[in-house]
Symmetry: C4
Amino acid sequence: MPQDTQAAAIREKETGRLEAFSDGVFAIAMTLLALELKVPHFDAGGNMADRLISGLTNQWPSYFAFVTSFFTVLIMWVHHHAIFRLVKGVDATLLFTNGFLLMLVTVVPFPTAVVAEYLRTPAAGVACTLYSGFFVLIGIAFIVLLRAAFRPAVLDPDASTATIARLRKSYRLGPPLYLAATVAAPFSPWLAMGICTALWIVWAATTREC
Amino acid sequence: MPQDTQAAAIREKETGRLEAFSDGVFAIAMTLLALELKVPHFDAGGNMADRLISGLTNQWPSYFAFVTSFFTVLIMWVHHHAIFRLVKGVDATLLFTNGFLLMLVTVVPFPTAVVAEYLRTPAAGVACTLYSGFFVLIGIAFIVLLRAAFRPAVLDPDASTATIARLRKSYRLGPPLYLAATVAAPFSPWLAMGICTALWIVWAATTREC
Amino acid sequence: MPQDTQAAAIREKETGRLEAFSDGVFAIAMTLLALELKVPHFDAGGNMADRLISGLTNQWPSYFAFVTSFFTVLIMWVHHHAIFRLVKGVDATLLFTNGFLLMLVTVVPFPTAVVAEYLRTPAAGVACTLYSGFFVLIGIAFIVLLRAAFRPAVLDPDASTATIARLRKSYRLGPPLYLAATVAAPFSPWLAMGICTALWIVWAATTREC
Amino acid sequence: MPQDTQAAAIREKETGRLEAFSDGVFAIAMTLLALELKVPHFDAGGNMADRLISGLTNQWPSYFAFVTSFFTVLIMWVHHHAIFRLVKGVDATLLFTNGFLLMLVTVVPFPTAVVAEYLRTPAAGVACTLYSGFFVLIGIAFIVLLRAAFRPAVLDPDASTATIARLRKSYRLGPPLYLAATVAAPFSPWLAMGICTALWIVWAATTREC
């Protein structure tokens, strides 16, 4: 193999391994979200069937938080995918900005569980502030990743400037919208969760390619 | 590389990444099912060996629910595989219908744990209604995925119409059969679980290719 | 692409996907084993540092059971690998015998946790019978998989008969040796665990290729 | 295919499968770290919002231990990657030294959880000794893996001797530095954790290629 082709093959393999690793982290984080769905327990006595029904239905904040987080992480995976399609090499900067994002992804089940537990209590405002604020952080991590990915050192030279500009623009929306939810959360936890829900639905509806 | 071949290669890679991601979610969900098998605990006193034996054997609903769910998800993985073999590209519709199915797959350990916990209690009817009803939902998600996969935009143009027709037909059976189990569950939880068990055995026995 | 080459490529891809899926299940099951290592808890009071030290050292049955199970599953992964290297296609029989083995692999953390919990109690005999007996079952599942893999329908026609004969022979040893451990367990739990430990060490030491 | 090329292809595939398997274990271990972040619980009464805030902030040792372990394992993954890029084949020795390292990787959430639980108690010294000491063990496992990987039997004959020498040298630093942290831990748990934190930051900052 001539030197150049070999180098290209190795670099492609490197990107592939980082993508596969990232996909693994996304897949595991999404699956672990479901571990927060707990079997309802209650003391014996009374009509047990009725109590199981109310135990299951009373857990709706868990179901709601689970669905919201699952689709939000799924959309993050699609976005991650869209970025790495334009990347042709991996260097230390890209590796660690990606690692920082993956760290936040693995943590998503934690604020999700806090919302599930406290959404119907007087602490709902705190829980939803944590939840929305965490996605502000993820939005920022995505912008940092975008900057790292679009440096000449790793960017595919054939990547269309239109695609790059479009991605850059679309990512600027995340942090301020999640910040609005974070600011609203202490006053209206439901408005905050509504914004988080609306965001993944809008993103899902407007995803063109993947 | 000529433009056409390159486009084909990229698209194939895209499908591959979505398949690998889906496989990861299936594999993790199947492995997490086993987390519901808990070490029996009891207060000290009496013959401890005898108590461990009865603790282990009394957990048979857990073992039964685990085996049923494991093979049902395994068969879902085979079906998922059969669909994606006919797909040559990924678009947003396919991505999100697939994502919806994956979300349900990650949740399977939850109704499984509810059945394991309540199968021998007066709440068995509720637990088995939840379990069977959940597979009605998964059956519907599969039909939606089938529709999304067999659109001209993503379908392999070389896919045989006979195979497509066969798949379409076979998927129509799932929801009504699981619905029958769901309707039967409140009256006879065991009939419901029997139908769910019979279904995966019949599907396993009739799988020709994979 | 000529029809034959294309068919070969598709079949190879199929084997690859089944192998990748199986690897995922092995990797997750091995990682979940470590979840059984629990942080020691104790009531406040006394010298807390001393109590944490004794809490950590008193957990040695957990560490021992973890190491034994980890390497046993690692060796199972190597064996699984050795079998699938000789396989060129996948059919329903191979898929479900492999699925049955994977199901048992995902369950390994359960008997491991039972041994960790009860090894130093009067119920050690029961725990070790369960543990050894479970590996008898896995040994049988491997023999069934071997039979499924070495049918002409899926076997690589170029597979050397010497390799096949060697694999067949080596797999016959597992079930009787684990059965000996199972029979010994009620009388001497330690002899049973010693056999299980000796087995993975001998297998690791005698693995030539992988 | 000529015999030689075929052998090379098979061997490369083998390395790929071992790498993918190792990546899976790394990804799962890193994701499971986040399971140690628990939802704070407290008795009802008082201002619930305030109590959730203090419950969340009081858990900072968990967050700190999580971040330190996450990035340390991420860097281990990069190092693992750097070693396997120079490897062209797999034999039993490499397989089991790699397996030993993977076993330690899966255990990382355990000392992490011990530090998270006891960092602010009188048992902090014990917890941090365990934590730092565990990374001494991992550092040694890496040196053993390096020796196994750089034997002529599996080393890529084209691997540059300069790269090999550089890797060998850089790995010698890990065990003594973690040993220093381990020795310091009983006297100053914070110094120990500071060394562990400084180490991953320095490694991240000095990673050139990946």
